[in-house]
């Protein structure tokens, strides 16, 4: 069996690839469901039903998808320029912390002023957290995977310190949590009797905007050029370091915005267990979407649906909800293989 590079990828193959990847994943996971002693067909029906089967289910899935779209975009943007930002989790928490600092009732200003300020502060906090790794990479050649990953722990400990100290809610009966965002500054609800908030609109609009930036602007051109071949980009006169820095800041800002959305759209106040690893899931989502911003939206909804559906599957027929993690992991692996097969052809010899 050998791989041969395709001269071009037919459209049919490009579309079939993700479909086949998902089908293959479900097939593999069927074995696990059988092992857990549940009927496969029913399990998948319950899973799908729990994710998309009702207004409530759709609402939950979209609520979950909102931060995932943003962290997915954060990873997709950075990875496209070969800046491997693994620190979206920390940037998300810092964004949330900044949102609370502005929107927690400490400032007496009209919400028309405070609302954009809150969003800007969250994005700036996420971006600033990436400034040091980005500069260290461009000036000193320090590997950003290591720095951004480790800074996650620093960020979480810092947030923990703030939540146990200066930013602790005095009325929370000793729990380490922040004060609540004042209700004027909360994101509006999109669906009655659900938790879907206007952060979803932000996320989708940003995904479209990023797709346009990528394809139509000089900055998008620079990001793609630097990511595809930094040496050649430098030779052609592109200021590689500056593009890298701008990309990093954009990525951090998107992750910070995810944090703002979670605290001002869903939770209302900040706790240390607000994110079940949205920052890390963003990396998976970006890879699932082949770093395409529009694909990120679909991949985020898919992952959110699997998580929400698996919860309902565990309630109804007792298959452990860990299956969600397995499905996401296997779908990533199959997607990577499928992506490779869009570029190469298998030949049997």
């Amino acid at each position: 069996m050998r791989l041969e590079q395709r001269t071009h990828t037919p459209y049919a193959v490009a579309i079939a690839a993700p479909v086949c990847a998902v089908a293959f994943t479900l097939l593999l996971c069927a074995a696990l469901i059988v092992w857990a002693g549940a009927p496969v067909g029913r399990a998948y029906i319950v899973l799908f039903d729990g994710a998309f089967g009702s207004r409530f289910a759709i609402g939950e899935t979209l609520t979950r998808a909102t931060p995932l779209i943003l962290t997915g975009l954060a990873a997709a943007v950075a990875f496209r320029a070969r800046f491997y930002n693994i620190g979206a989790e920390g940037q998300l928490y810092l964004g949330a912390l900044a949102a609370v600092a502005i929107g927690g009732g400490g400032f007496a200003a009209p919400s028309v002023v405070l609302f954009p300020l809150m969003i800007a502060a969250g994005m700036a906090a996420g971006a600033m957290w990436l400034l040091v790794p980005a500069l260290a990479k461009s000036r000193l050649g320090v590997d950003e995977v290591v720095t951004t990953l480790l800074l996650n722990f620093v960020a979480l400990l810092f947030v923990s310190m703030m939540l146990d100290g200066p930013m602790k809610d005095p009325t929370a009966m000793g729990w380490p949590q922040s004060v609540a965002i004042v209700s004027d500054l909360e994101f509006g609800k999109l669906l009655e009797r659900s938790r879907v908030h206007s952060g979803l609109i932000f996320a989708v609009v940003l995904a479209v905007a990023l797709w346009v930036v990528n394809a139509r602007t000089t900055f998008g051109y620079e990001m793609r050029a630097v990511g595809a071949n930094a040496r050649a980009a430098r030779f052609a006169g592109i200021a590689v370091d500056r593009v890298m820095l701008k990309t990093a800041l954009l990525s951090g800002a998107l992750a910070g915005l995810a944090g703002v959305g979670e605290v001002a759209g869903r939770a209302g106040y900040l706790t240390l267990d607000m994110s079940p690893g949205y920052g890390y899931s963003g990396i998976v989502i970006a890879m699932l979407a082949s770093l395409n911003p529009l694909g990120v939206v679909l991949a985020a909804i898919f992952v959110a649906g699997v998580i929400v559906g698996a919860d309902s599957m565990s309630r109804v027929i007792g298959v452990p909800s860990y299956l969600a993690d397995v499905i996401v992991a296997i779908s990533l692996l199959s997607m990577l293989v499928a992506t490779m097969l869009t570029r190469y052809k298998l030949r049997w010899s």
Partner: protein, 513 residues
């Protein structure tokens, strides 16, 4: 028993060839890399394998060496069939390969390098004494004297090549394959190699000599096999063919060499580009020269003597440690962008890795140096229409063959990539052109195209710096040539003999100075 390579006809009777390729065919997707190639290598001969890049030479050798399995055809070595796809079997059958890029460990001695891979893993001590004696025997037998204890890093390129040949002989090779063996040698070293080859064949070895340089093939080989587009188009006796005939067989049509017009450089106007007392990186120690409008200034030298650093400085990629670059009297420094803005057209050495961004489309590559110009962008938006118009102009004017402007740059052949890079640099009529190895690895047709474009730029009044390892190229189109050795650039001369320039490339002039 020895057989002279000019074996008299019929005197020794018909002898079976040592290597016989029968109907070798190899496809890569739609590409036919080898199409029914049948070839025989006789005992005691040097057989030249001539062909342009992409003609299928490397594929054929890879099949022979077991790296690829042929779709059809068979190989016999010393009348025994060679099992396909097994490099070890090829080695055991007595085939030795000397690669163009040496596979030696710089930090080890000659003896260690030769021993690597010949001893089993399980033996606690290496049997160096026996190996040393065997090496000495092999070296005297074939007249390849090398100090076994010298560190490879301290050897000259010619000596390293000798070590590579020794390595193959030590392992008992009776058939040697030399892949572009002269690419890294000075003319004198090449002559020494040819005399070594004559000793080897006189001892009964057989040699397959792969090259795309016609002169060398004619000088070194008894017979020449020509490959074109994967097919064996002719086998000629070297004594009864000519350079022109071989060139035509190789390309498939007559090739006109680019001609320099008689107008000399306009020296009267003073130099346009002046490089003063320049040092950069670890390797470039001192370079000083000036180039007039309408002049091609050639820089010769064996690879690795500081040319890469000089080219990087002249492209704006590397900041000099000392010295400066003046254009029209103004000092120029800074980024590649600043150099482009100052009117530099640049052709990098590594066209695939530095010249283009393979994953981006052809039109995006065509405007890579100019995308920020007002013509191609407005307030941060890329004007795709104008960019494609520019790309189409380059493609048309510079005869770039591609499947469309939206195709990725990596889908083009090397020659077309080079035309795109050249077109991108030349379309805005730069006043200074820096071309580093612009014809390396290109086929003859593309080479003469690149030369004619550089000469056209010269006629237009551009000052051109041409860095090249190919002396024929420099002699053909450069007005003056200077030689780079150990990071120092010699005085430029308008007229060199091949002998003198070879000595300068080996550092003789530096030694006198």
């Amino acid at each position: 028993m020895t057989i002279a390579h000019e074996a008299p006809d019929g005197a020794t009777g018909p002898q079976a060839p040592v290597l016989r390729l029968r109907g070798i065919t190899k496809h890569f997707g739609a590409l036919v890399a080898n199409d029914d190639v049948s070839l025989e290598l006789e005992r005691g001969e040097v057989l030249g394998l001539l062909g342009e890049n992409g003609a299928g030479k490397s594929t054929l050798v890879s099949v022979l060496f077991g790296h690829y399995v042929a779709d059809a055809g068979s190989i016999e070595v010393f009348e025994q069939p060679l099992p396909p796809g097994q490099p070890k079997a090829a080695l055991a059958a007595g085939i030795g390969m000397v690669h163009q890029h040496f596979t030696l460990a710089d930090n080890l001695s000659v003896l260690d390098n030769i021993l690597i891979g010949t001893e089993t893993l399980w033996q606690p001590f290496s049997r160096r004494r026996g190996a040393r004696e065997k090496l000495a025997r092999t070296a005297t037998q074939f007249g390849l004297a090398v100090d076994p204890d010298a560190r490879v890093a301290d050897l000259s390129v010619g000596e390293r090549q000798r070590v590579e040949i020794l390595k193959a002989l030590y392992r008992g090779a009776r058939i040697l394959i030399l892949d572009e063996p002269t690419a890294v040698l000075t003319p004198q070293e090449s002559q020494a190699l040819f005399s070594t080859l004559r000793t080897l064949v006189a001892d009964g070895l057989s040699i397959l000599f792969i090259s795309h340089k016609l002169d060398e093939v004619l000088a070194a080989c008894r017979r020449v096999a020509v490959l074109r587009q994967g097919r064996l188009v002719a086998v000629r006796e070297a004594a009864s063919t000519s350079k022109a005939e071989l060139a035509e067989l190789m390309v498939g049509r007559r090739v006109e060499a680019a001609q320099r017009d008689n107008a000399g450089p306009s020296v009267a106007a003073g130099p346009l580009l002046a490089v003063v007392n320049l040092a950069a990186g670890a390797k470039l120690k001192r370079a000083q020269f000036s180039v007039a409008r309408g002049e091609i200034f050639g820089i010769a030298g064996v690879s690795g003597n500081g040319q890469a650093e000089l080219a990087d400085v002249l492209c704006g990629l590397l900041a000099p440690v000392r010295g400066e670059i003046r254009v029209d009297g103004r000092t120029l420094a800074g980024t590649p962008h600043a150099f482009i803005e100052a009117g530099f057209g640049r052709v990098p050495e590594d066209r695939a890795a530095v010249g283009v961004i393979g994953d981006l489309s052809i039109w995006e590559n065509a405007v890579a140096e100019r995308y920020r110009d007002r013509a191609f962008s407005h307030l941060g938006w890329l004007d795709r229409t104008q960019a494609k118009v520019r790309a189409a102009r380059i493609v048309a004017q510079f005869d770039v063959r591609c499947s469309g402007l939206d195709a990725p740059a990596r889908s083009m052949s090397g020659g077309n990539v080079q035309k795109l890079i050249l077109g991108r640099a030349l379309i805005s009529e730069p006043s200074v052109i820096v071309a580093n190895q612009p014809t390396w690895g290109l086929d003859i047709g593309a080479v003469s195209y690149v030369h004619s474009q550089l000469l056209a730029a010269r006629s237009r009044g551009a000052a051109i710096v041409l860095l090249s390892e190919d002396l024929d190229e420099l002699f053909a189109i450069a007005d003056r040539i200077a030689v780079m050795f150990h990071g120092t650039l010699s005085e430029a001369r308008t007229c060199w003999s091949v002998g003198d320039i070879g000595l300068a490339m080996a550092g003789a002039e530096a030694a006198q100075a």
